[in-house]
């Protein structure tokens, strides 16, 4: 197992080096300093900025330097600054650390809820295959898929927050904004284990629950069809016939036999939806003004904030590659037939 993980990590190194190379090259196609400062900047200003960022050095040197930053996770310290352009005086590392919490507090619930709900609906649909409930579910799902995600977000925001408040007097959900709801202790327990000092679930629900729910509604459309197809295929297998012949009850067959065997495509699917998850969260963070990584990178692209774009894409890529490795490991855990070699 460990040697497998190590090998997968080693194999993904060239891929990671490649994506950093491509991103760094793409960001330098048109001069980022010019793009940021605009046409009215003087020569000196441009040169100063370029020098401060190290953009006047050869590309190979910049590449190595940036790789060094990633390897040592050094995106600016008190003494060696690596500052964002837009937010002067703030290190990129600080912005990154601030953004991870909000991002995770909507992506993780999104992932769990979506998977649970869509597997349930997919199984229901497969269970009632061909009957009206199945037909209606699938019809609704195709309809939902054809409406833009944005519409769900914009209308969900309106009806979930302001309409609910004005019409029914329910002020559960904020229209936008974010407040930290989880705080960790400065000194970890026994020197290793950090424990939360503040755990305000109500605050989380106020700001994050609505985006999470909207995401679930959107994602169900894409996932349910897949899970239904998987389940339907599974029902034609011999072991199901055997189980029926033995007299197992239908719920037992569904949950004990089918779900277990369908886990492999399910895991694949969950991992395949990761980019969708990140993209969806970018939109949700953007619209709900949640200061997560997605909102930050979109704002950075709009403000031409070069250091942030470069660092955040590198982080996104890293997370992504790691999650792919995690998928393969999960396969092996779920399915003993998969050999880790």
């Amino acid at each position: 197992m460990w040697s497998f993980i190590a090998r997968r990590l080693l194999a993904s190194i060239p891929v990671y080096l490649g994506i950093i190379l491509i991103v760094m090259a793409a960001l330098r196609v048109s001069d980022p300093v010019n793009a940021y400062l605009g046409k009215n900047a003087t020569k000196e200003q441009i040169e100063l900025k370029r020098h401060a960022m190290g953009l006047d050095r050869p590309f190979a040197a910049q590449y190595v330097e940036f790789l060094g930053r990633i390897v040592t996770l050094d995106f600016g310290t008190q003494t060696r600054r690596y500052e964002s352009w837009k937010y002067e005086g703030q290190n990129v590392g600080k912005k990154l650390a601030e953004a991870i919490g909000p991002s995770l507090s909507i992506t993780l619930p999104e992932l769990c809820l979506t998977t649970l709900v869509s597997i349930t609906i997919g199984m229901l649909s497969a269970y009632y295959r061909g009957r009206w409930i199945d037909r209606w579910l699938m019809f609704l799902v195709v309809l939902g898929m054809s409406v833009s995600v944005l519409v769900f977000i914009v209308l969900g925001q309106k009806f979930g927050s302001s309409w609910l408040k004005s019409a029914l007097g329910i002020g559960w959900f904020a229209a936008s904004g974010y407040e930290p709801w989880l705080a960790w202790s400065k000194e970890p327990l026994w020197g290793v284990l950090p424990y939360p000092t503040r755990f305000a679930l109500g605050t989380w629900a106020h700001y994050c629950l609505l985006p999470v729910l909207i995401y679930v509604v959107v994602a169900i459309g894409y996932d349910t069809r897949f899970y239904r197809a998987v389940m339907v295929e599974e029902t034609t297998r011999d072991y199901i016939t055997t189980a029926i012949a033995k007299g197992a009850s239908k719920p037992k067959i569904m949950f004990a036999h089918m779900l277990k065997n369908a886990l492999i495509p399910i895991i694949t699917r969950v991992m395949i939806t990761l980019p969708f998850l990140i993209a969806g969260s970018i939109l949700l963070e953007y619209q709900f003004r949640i200061p997560g990584m997605g909102k930050l990178i979109i704002d950075a692209i709009k403000d031409r904030d070069f250091p942030i774009i470069q660092t955040f894409t590198a982080v996104f890529a890293g997370v992504f590659i790691l999650s792919n490795i995690l998928t393969d490991v999960l396969y092996a855990l779920v399915d003993p037939r998969v050999r880790l070699s």
Binding site: S30, S148, L150, I301
Partner: protein
């Protein structure tokens, strides 16, 4: 069948808009011809899409909004007139002349003011404004149904000052107001229809280029193997290790400050979107075609072709690639939807279409309207996009069932 019909309708509208637009632009550029300013021919050009056709945020289908909204709409029409009548020049005659010219210059699409003497305009505008002020003084217009006849009188006054022409042009004017107006008073219908062209243009270009590029690379990788395969696999696994939206954002950023970042040239300004999407979306077809060619290259007919002595490139293009055509079709229709959806998302984030209308921009512009309860713009963009995407979803499902029945979607 219905889905194909819907797609055909969209394609026809898209081509019509593209054709009239291109003919007009080319005629202007070269001076070889000028598109006659006939009302039907240039009904769907960019200029029409950006033209003010009425007060901001009029609801569609001729539906009467709440009285408060009606007062606002009437006020904004009258303000348009008042701005032009109040000219601060000492000389009375000159002031009249300039006011008359200004009033004659008022255009709400086809609707123009009638040919009245300036004194009558002044009188009527003043009377209508006084009426509105009196209505506004009551306050809470929504709660006072007895004010309705007075509002209707003001509306009649405005209607008499803005006359729609008869015939085809008049019908066009009403058609443009059919879905209401957006925040700047532009026709939502024209903008939504014009966006079909933008969507189809982007979808076609991106899907075609990405599918061709991806399939050729994928087929070559599988067929030649060795370092070609390694390089292609490395390239696509590298590019796919970033989420699409982030990669698209970075690639769009690549073009900032270049000649493609020029809002005065709508044709060039789409290039970053094309490039970003093509560079992102070729991965899908590349993977699929590579897998298929891997299988195909072991088949007898390829070996037979090799035995005859055909070159490898010839076999690849003549024998291997045509047998992946079904996959290309499926991928084309999948990418077409993906391109349209991503264009909308990018435009929504302010990174996509920057000039002219697009569904994404319409949805973005409608966000504050939705909060105030005005759904016409978001509704129009959604419905227009919905039918196109739904039709393509159905078609690509059908294609998949027909060509690739083993695939679990």
């Amino acid at each position: 069948m219905v889905a194909l019909g819907v797609i055909a309708c969209y394609a026809a509208i898209g081509l019509w808009v593209l054709g009239t637009d291109a003919a007009k632009r080319l005629g202007e550029r070269t001076g070889w011809w000028s598109v006659p300013a006939s009302p039907l021919l240039d009904a769907l050009t960019v200029e029409r899409a950006d033209e003010v056709v009425g007060a901001p945020e009029i609801p569609g289908f001729g539906i009467r909004p709440r009285p408060e909204e009606r007062v606002r709409i009437a006020q904004s029409y009258l303000d348009e007139f008042r701005k032009r009548v109040n000219i601060r020049v000492r000389n009375r005659a000159e002031a009249d002349q300039r006011a008359a010219d200004a009033i004659a210059g008022i255009r709400f699409a086809e609707a123009t003011p009638p040919n009245w003497p300036i004194a009558e305009f002044r009188e009527r505008i003043k009377a209508a404004l006084d009426d509105l002020d009196a209505i506004a003084e009551v306050g809470e217009v929504d709660r006072h149904p007895e004010l309705l006849p007075r509002i209707e009188k003001v509306e009649r006054d405005i209607a008499s000052m803005l006359v729609a022409p008869a015939g085809v042009r008049g019908m066009l004017y009403h058609a443009r107001l059919a879905l209401g107006t957006d925040r700047q008073g532009r026709s939502i219908l024209v903008r939504a229809v014009y966006s079909i062209k933008v969507a189809i243009q982007i979808g076609l270009v991106v899907a075609l280029v990405a599918v061709l590029f991806g399939s050729v690379l994928g087929a070559a990788a599988a067929f030649f193997g060795g370092w070609v395969d390694l390089a292609v696999v490395w390239l696509y696994s590298t590019l796919s290790s970033l989420p699409d939206l982030v990669l698209l954002g970075v690639l769009v950023f690549m073009f900032t400050g270049s000649i493609f970042d020029d809002v005065t040239k709508p044709w060039l300004s789409l290039v970053p979107i094309y490039a970003a999407m093509c560079l992102t979306f070729w991965i899908g077809p590349c993977r699929v075609v590579r897998g298929e060619v891997m299988k195909i290259k072991e088949l007898e007919y390829i070996q037979a072709a090799r035995a005859i002595g055909f070159g490898r490139a010839y076999i690849l293009i003549r024998h291997a690639l045509p047998n992946t055509l079904h996959l290309m079709f499926i991928n084309f229709s999948l990418l077409f939807i993906a391109a349209i959806k991503n264009e909308v998302v990018l435009s929504f984030l302010g990174l996509g279409v920057k000039v002219g209308p697009s569904w994404g921009r319409m949805i973005q512009e409608s966000t504050p309207q939705v909060i105030n309860g005005f759904y016409w713009q978001i509704g129009a963009a959604t419905v227009f996009m919905f039918f196109l995407v739904l039709a393509f979803n159905i078609v690509s499902d059908a294609l998949q069932d027909a060509f690739d029945p083993k695939h679990v979607s």
